[in-house]
């Protein structure tokens, strides 16, 4: 025991390239071709939606630009104003290409906004439940159970019926329909993390409860939260389309994807397939690409599936 300084030398390791967990995650994510393509498709959809006003010939919300004379034109027809309607037009003369891009804007806004808000609310409630324990946890989790026993579409439908039409009301309805999924996920993960030794070690360092919950436990719950977040965002988008299709979502003057599909529904049997099919395909691509990304995220982020 007299002089062991010589022994300490072998612990020198070759200095590792400092790699953040995020860099590792990114490398693993792009290993999958399907997920990469899906992410690409989703990004293209987002870009199309964001730049819609500059890349579409018509503003479907501006009634002065919409002419009933252009109604129900098949794909490739020329509009009264001289531009080509590559995807045809709907019953009220809206260029479907323009309408779909503007519709995607609304759908994505509604989906992402409700997804993020529901995530934040559900996360906070789930963390409180996990950390408080006891009666508070029991009450919160029974409310979550109660809510999850109803289908999300039913809850959303009831909320929209009660709140009325409009983008803000739809978002609120979707948040109310979806927060419970996040709360349940966060609580389950946080309970596991809370029992881990690093939490005990942090307590032994005299770090405050608040910091332990938000700095130590929460970041370790992010993986399942991100996965649930992507899947729930996709489901929020299709829920919004469902509500609009049923006529309780967004008004005719601000057509979202769901409204467009509903508009074409009555023409399906008369052979004017394009009015419903093209918005339907847009919705399909959006939801499927998000879900594929979400699926792969689950594989990458789940340590139990690691090779």
């Amino acid at each position: 025991m007299s002089d062991m300084t010589a022994v300490t030398v072998p612990v020198a390791e070759p200095s590792p390239k400092v790699e953040t967990p995020f860099q590792r995650f990114r490398a693993e994510f792009f290993e999958s071709k399907i997920a990469t393509v899906a992410l690409g498709v989703f990004l293209i959809i987002v870009l199309l939606a964001v730049f819609a006003p500059w890349i579409t010939p018509q503003n479907p919300y501006d009634l002065a630009q919409v002419s009933v004379m252009d109604g129900r034109l098949p794909p490739g027809s020329e509009a009264f104003d001289g531009y080509t309607m590559w995807l045809g037009s709907d019953g009220s003369g809206r260029d479907l290409y323009s309408a779909i891009l503007y519709g995607l804007r609304i759908s994505l806004t509604v989906g992402l906004a409700s997804g993020v808000i529901a995530l934040l609310i559900g996360m906070a409630i789930g963390l409180v439940a996990a950390y408080a324990g006891g009666r508070i946890e029991a009450i919160i989790m029974r409310i979550v159970d109660l809510q999850l026993s109803f289908p999300a579409s039913l809850v959303a439908l009831m909320m929209v019926a009660a709140l009325g039409k409009g983008v803000d009301k739809i978002i609120l309805a979707l948040v109310i329909a979806q927060w419970a999924y996040y709360a349940r996920t966060v609580r389950a993960t946080a309970l596991v993390e809370r029992g881990k030794e690093y939490v005990e070690a942090a307590q032994c360092l005299g770090i405050s409860r608040f910091r332990i919950v938000f700095r130590h436990i929460l970041p370790n719950c992010m993986a399942p939260l991100i996965v649930v977040g992507t899947v729930q965002t996709a489901s929020a988008i299709s829920l919004e389309a469902t509500l609009s299709f049923l006529g309780v979502g967004l008004p005719q003057t601000e057509p979202s994807i769901g409204v467009l599909i509903a508009n074409g529904f009555e023409y399906m049997l008369s052979g004017r397939y394009w009015i419903s099919v093209f918005p339907g395909l847009a919705l399909l691509f959006t939801v499927v690409s998000i879900n594929l990304v979400g699926d792969h995220l689950r594989d990458v982020l789940n340590p139990r599936l690691k090779k």
């Binding site: 025991m1 062991m4 612990v11 390791e13 030794e197 032994c204 360092l205 005299g206 910091r211 370790n220």
Partner: protein, 325 residues
């Protein structure tokens, strides 16, 4: 030497559905400044619970039911949570067994170390960073700047335990409770870690309670040793006295079961039976049913007695020592 920690009559019980588990049932010891005390016992003997009682992290259904823990003269058994929180990591630190588990996997080493300083002192981040770097250097980590930027998964087990030890020493605590800090490491790393810990306690005057089941570790490290069995300290004394001339039959048995060079070819001594069920301890001396030196007197609980400058809970210390020879 002044006493940093005085534990007397400490009882920590767990009130479970199956009954009361007396995990710690009347423990007394004192640790002086700069002293390393080994707390030895088998799994479930209550040694870790003793450590957690001192730092005030006993979770329900457990609680300290009796006794006093005086830290620098201040009573901290069942003290207010705010007071305990200001002591933890600041005046009393803890080092855990598994370094793979005790560092937060998503936070960088510097974040975790700086946080430990800022939780107790209002210094600038830069100062905290410099102190963290110096602390890593002190425990023998090469190029500490680089390690500070690393995530725990990028460090080896020994390296992580060094980080944990550096973190425990960051605020120059008066007492460190090390709960089997070398059990999860291989023997060479173990030797290095023990060396670093010993060096640091000498440099800083920090007292240390080294909880372990490994007598060999304690023999080379501690100045005093307390042997625990079924929630009680059965023998306590200077390390050389206890290791060379154990008096309690349990200590005798533990030491006899360690293979040594001069017992080559002979059968190792074996303690009969199994560890007792903590819910249903034997009457009288808890070690009685397994003891090779038991007499009729052992049906009663032996009191703590001072013999040859050590304290002992046994009626027949002489018989115990002779049996193994």
């Amino acid at each position: 030497m002044s006493a940093v920690l005085e534990v007397s009559g400490l009882k920590t019980h767990f009130f479970t559905h199956a009954g009361v588990v007396k995990a710690v049932d009347g423990v007394d010891f004192t640790v002086s400044k700069g002293e390393i005390m080994g707390l030895v016992g088998e799994s479930g003997s209550g040694k870790s619970i003793t450590g957690f009682s001192i730092i005030g992290l006993i979770d329900a259904p457990g609680r300290i039911v009796e006794g006093s823990i005086k830290f620098n003269g201040e009573e901290i058994a069942n003290a207010k949570e705010e007071r305990l929180q200001s002591l933890r990591g600041n005046r009393i630190s803890m080092i855990f067994q598994d370094p793979m588990m005790t560092l937060n996997p998503v936070l960088r080493v510097d974040t975790q170390m700086i946080e430990a300083i800022l939780a107790h002192e209002s210094v600038s981040k830069q100062t905290a960073w410099e102190r963290s770097r110096d602390a890593l250097g002190l425990v023998g980590i090469p190029s500490p700047e680089e390690r500070l930027r690393a995530y725990p998964h990028q460090l080896s087990g020994g390296m992580r335990q060094r980080v944990a030890i550096a973190t425990a020493f960051l605020n120059r605590p008066d007492l460190i409770i090390a709960d089997e800090p070398t059990t999860a490491l291989d023997v060479t790393i173990q030797a290095q870690i023990i060396h670093e810990a010993q060096k640091l306690t000498r440099q800083t005057g920090t007292a240390m309670i080294w909880i372990t089941h490994d007598l060999a570790v304690v023999a080379g490290l501690a100045e005093r040793i307390s042997v625990m069995y079924a929630g009680r300290i059965v023998e306590q004394g200077g390390i050389d006295d206890v290791i060379d001339r154990p008096l309690h039959p349990y200590t005798v048995g533990l030491l006899g079961s360690v293979p040594t060079a001069n017992r080559r070819g002979k059968r190792l001594f074996q303690i009969e039976g199994m560890t007792p069920n903590m819910l249903d301890l034997p009457k009288g001396c808890a070690f009685g049913p397994r003891c090779h030196a038991r007499t009729d007197a052992c049906g009663l609980q032996p009191p703590i007695e001072d013999i040859d400058g050590r304290s002992l809970r046994c009626f027949n210390p002489q018989r115990a020592a002779e049996a193994v020879k």
